[in-house]
């Protein structure tokens, strides 16, 4: 599957293996890691929530767009859902291609479009006791 959501830890090694091709000379990958802070606030934990059927449909469209736009061999993206800890992989993107320019461009396209278009939401829990749905501009007591 070129785009999937995952309730369990993302394994970059296994995911990378699926993109190996003898004809591919370049491999670019991206990982989004859960950070310990955001906009000056200390983050203790967070969760991702997805509207799963549409997230996987829209994600698959994004990967297909990348395969069409760039000269690449293969590409995939996995996004975690559920509660995550600091340092966990929140999102993983991998692209293999004949040459490196296309691998970088496609990798960046996939993560940029995923962040902009895929219906997944992040709730951050801060050390100060508040939590917030990121980008929804509203702070709620935990």
């Amino acid at each position: 599957m070129q785009f999937s959501t995952s309730e369990t830890t993302v394994d970059p090694v296994a995911l990378r293996s699926a993109l190996l091709h003898d004809a591919a000379g370049a491999y670019a990958s991206f990982e989004g890691w859960v950070r310990d802070h955001n906009e000056g606030k200390t983050v203790d934990a967070l969760e991702y929530s997805a509207y799963k059927p549409l997230a996987e449909k829209e994600g698959a469209r994004i990967v297909k767009e990348a395969l069409k736009r760039f000269d690449i061999e293969a590409a995939a993206c996995v996004h975690r859902v559920g509660p995550l800890k600091i340092g966990d992989i929140a999102v993983w993107v991998g692209v293999s291609s004949p040459h490196r320019g296309a691998a970088f461009d496609a990798c960046r396209y996939i993560i940029d479009e995923t962040k902009a278009r895929v219906p997944i939401w992040k709730r951050e829990n801060y050390r100060n006791g508040h939590s917030e749905w990121v980008n929804c501009h509203k702070v709620n007591a935990r």
């Binding site: 989004g32 997805a50 509207y51 997230a55 962040k115 895929v118 992040k122 749905w133 929804c136």
Partner: protein
């Protein structure tokens, strides 16, 4: 007609549930969001939301049909 609604993120918190079935006369998502927004004091204006009908993106003025599943999509924050 009956419309199935699913709520996510801030809308789910403000509605206090993740899904409901509504009997409504609203002809479009726009009309329905306007009603719901007033009833539940949603803080997100329609300009910051997207709409999905039956698991795909749709226009705010798309016609609603009996049995449709409708989702108002808050600003996303994946990655």
């Amino acid at each position: 007609m009956k419309i199935q609604l699913e709520y996510f993120a801030l809308l789910k918190d403000q509605r206090g549930c993740s899904s409901e079935t509504l009997e409504t006369d609203a002809a479009t998502p726009q009309q329905l969001y306007s009603e719901l927004s007033e009833r539940h004091s949603f803080t997100l204006g329609p300009e910051s939301l997207k709409v999905a009908i039956n698991e795909d993106f749709a226009d705010w003025d798309a016609p609603l049909s009996e049995g449709d599943t409708l989702v108002f999509i808050p600003p996303v924050a994946g990655g």
